[in-house]
Subunit: 480 residues, 2 copies
């Protein structure tokens, strides 16, 4: 059950997190939390501790969970059950408020107000299958969904009659879909993805039984196109399917789309021999509003773009948007002889509430509103990086990014309290629209104060993070 | 864009459904609905019309959708935008009420009251990754999720320390997961599934690049184990991965799990050479409460069971439950060397609201409550079948099922109004807890009345549905 973690992913970083104290509705939790297992690993000949990077299976999970119990025969009369459930929910709500307040490490915009949509919670809204093919099931929200898709297609410059897309359950579904199209277009294609790509890309390769080549990254986290070129030259006989990151999970690095395309062209890959999927889960919606960013547009030879809806937009449930070229979907359908109809989505039943949330926010904010929020995020991210540096803490911020990477705090309790995502020696904060200067100040003040207690003899020592972020960003004794 | 539909699936039956009249917030819909394309097909040497089985791409979809427009600079001052959006939502709500009322063809229980959970809509609840491995992201509902999973594991008789599972986005995700485990356990295994299996099973085969053998069905819709045996004998050298339907999509047929296992054993497949996934999307939660049903239990050599949460339980968004043996997940993880941790779910970010809805309902109803509802559904389904027969309408009801199959109404408008799912000459009603005798009476009275106008010269003629349902269930001139 306990294994070492070899690579990083924000989404599966694995510390056992205790439920907040106030949220113990049963008070029967007798089993203590399992201790965090410390693994040893060998780095440069030295045995060092791999802090907090171990998988600890939640052995306590069954005792700490909220058991479903059989109602007593007289529950309806006494109302005791209703009262119990109401109290559980009220305490849970309180813990959610607390946890939502202290939240920096995950790229979710928690600043939304969907009061007007509360009235829709009573309906089972389901956009079965393809958004462009109506189902007889009438309780759907396709009219909102297609409105949202049109908006994104316009953003990425693909005509209404040339695109196809749908609202997904999460970033992973968008990636699974994009890579699947690539494979259907090029059944013997090789998947190329940088090492710092989201883990769902490698999951897709395995699920789809595709050959997959991991490409090295620069210290910024961007794909290393020199290495990419080498790999392409070794495999010129097979078409290329490439995942391009518009914001990597850890460092928020944006792969240089133009350079990727140029590399393909220079190695002799004509446009009909490669397929590019852009994983814009994190910054897909931010990049269009950043002046110097390499533009993500279907005017370039790309095949699909996906973005998460619960991240920058903000939405109470995970969701995403996937846009691709209609011609690819038609190719996909032609291959699917055994299916009832064009079955182009990964999931069958699809959440019909998410499109309404997205429609609501896009309508309220508009392109102008998003531009303003992007600017605010980038400004605040710079503020955070500058203050970290001023406090003698090694930190990095990629030019096109609102992800601030810095030395990992030494105290797991602090990491949990601020819900930081960590990898080895580094941690990050993703500055979303709900992260204000005030919240950053609270965090910084607490970090600086706590930090002075984390090092023996009161002597502040910055850990070396040059391997992860480069010497320029490191504040250790050797590099500062 | 227009192709013929070769097989059936409720979830992708493809008629263009106009939005309800009252729900046209923009009144600019100038493009007429595309006509329903009539295809011809050859049956027994005669060219016949394949009514309503064509894919019509919603060409109107972009004009009928709710466009996202850029706010005017003074919108915040005038409040016009808020007023517009509120009016769109109010009209949409009205149409949802209307559409929810007339709803018979899809197996969704629309009878729920989640008022108490409205307070949670303001939170971005996300159960990232594995439910049994905590994430640093604190705004989750794993404690509810594991409670629900424990309940289902108990229902299907698997010990807490021997099961693994998670709450999925829909029935399809459960099937994709179950088949993927099967493939990871037996990388060269052949997938066997009856022709009437849900289309997601065949989608899985294609996605996962698995060899797939379609097995014939009996007229009831159950898998034909004689044919299954023939196929097994021809492929004895490769392990078998079998999808067993606990309720097929169209006829609600329950495959005989015991006979499937017996067939495997008799053809020399020992327990370590097959993997059974039970697709219980439709009736997985009903069967345990039906006395004579072949029991779905992990005491038999099965590998996984999935069930939908938005069907019999009822939930405002699609969701499902997937339960498997922990040993399989451990095998899966051992194979995944490139991943950060045990990455055992299909999706990464996962909706944290759905587990709370399920937890709430299970707690309120309990096993006893579900038993009562199952009995009500079966009773009402018999009532519907008997009244159809009494009216001279051919109809079938499988013994363990609440899906009533009958001749397809001749009028597409009627089909849409009652949101019936259709395949060729047959239609069905899935009797869920929210389908009362009163609603069935309304439907029956309208059907009988309309039916008298559908046939030329006022002469009622029942179409022959013996091919689909067998002669006993047919009420045509030849068979009645």
């Amino acid at each position: 059950m306990v294994g070492s973690v070899k690579t990083f992913s924000t989404e599966v970083d694995v510390n056992v997190e205790p439920l907040p104290e106030e949220f113990d509705p049963t008070a029967v939790v007798s089993e203590p939390l399992p201790p965090v297992v410390k693994n040893k690993t060998v780095v440069n000949g030295d045995e060092v501790e791999k802090r907090g990077r171990e998988i600890v299976l939640g052995r306590n999970v069954h005792t700490m969970c909220l058991e479903v119990t059989e109602p007593d025969a007289d529950d309806e009369v006494t109302g005791e059950r209703e009262a119990y459930m109401a109290s559980v929910l009220a305490r849970y709500r309180k813990s959610l408020i607390e946890r939502t307040k202290h939240h920096l490490g995950y790229p979710y915009n928690l600043d939304f107000d969907y009061g007007a949509l509360g009235q829709l919670q009573h309906f089972s809204i389901n956009n079965l299958g393809d958004p462009f093919i109506e189902s007889n099931y009438g309780v759907h929200s396709r009219q909102f969904e297609v409105g949202v898709l049109d908006w994104f297609a316009r953003l990425w410059e693909l005509e209404k009659n040339e695109y196809w897309g749908y609202i997904t359950n999460c970033g992973t579904e968008g990636n699974l879909h994009g890579i699947l199209i690539g494979r259907e277009v090029f059944p013997d294609g090789i998947l190329y993805a940088s090492r710092e790509s989201h883990y769902s890309i490698f999951k897709a390769a395995r699920m789809y039984r595709m050959e997959c080549i991991k490409v090295d990254t620069l210290v910024s986290g961007e794909i290393d196109c020199t290495h990419f070129k080498e790999k392409l030259l070794l495999n010129k006989d097979k078409p290329a399917i490439i995942n391009v990151n518009i914001g990597t999970t850890v460092k928020g690095a944006v792969d240089d789309l133009d350079l990727v395309i140029k590399t393909l062209e220079e190695t002799g890959f004509s446009h009909d021999r490669f397929y590019i999927h852009c994983d814009g889960a994190l910054f897909g919606l931010m990049m269009p509003f950043v002046k110097l960013a390499p533009k993500v547009t279907f005017k370039k030879p790309i095949g699909s773009v996906s973005v998460s809806g619960h991240k920058f937009v903000g939405c109470p449930m995970p969701c995403g948007v996937q846009i691709t070229r209609l011609e690819h979907i038609n190719a996909l359908s032609r291959n699917v002889e055994y299916l009832a109809s064009r079955d182009a989505t990964i999931m069958g039943s699809r959440n019909g509430h998410a499109p309404i949330f997205l429609w609501y926010t896009l309508n309220r904010k508009g392109y102008r509103g998003f531009r303003k929020e992007v600017q605010k995020c980038l400004r605040n991210a710079h503020y955070l990086k500058d203050r970290l540096r001023a406090a003698g803490i090694g930190a990095m911020l990629n030019e096109l990014s609102s992800t601030v990477v810095f030395e990992r705090p030494q105290d797991e309790e602090f990491v949990r309290r601020w819900q930081l995502a960590c990898q080895g020696n580094i941690a990050h904060v993703v500055v979303m629209p709900n992260i204000t200067i005030e919240k950053l100040d609270d965090f910084l003040n607490e970090l600086v104060e706590k930090r002075s207690t984390w090092y023996p003899d009161g002597k502040l020592q910055s850990p070396c993070i040059a391997a992860e972020l480069g010497e320029d960003c490191c504040a250790c004794a050797c590099h500062k």
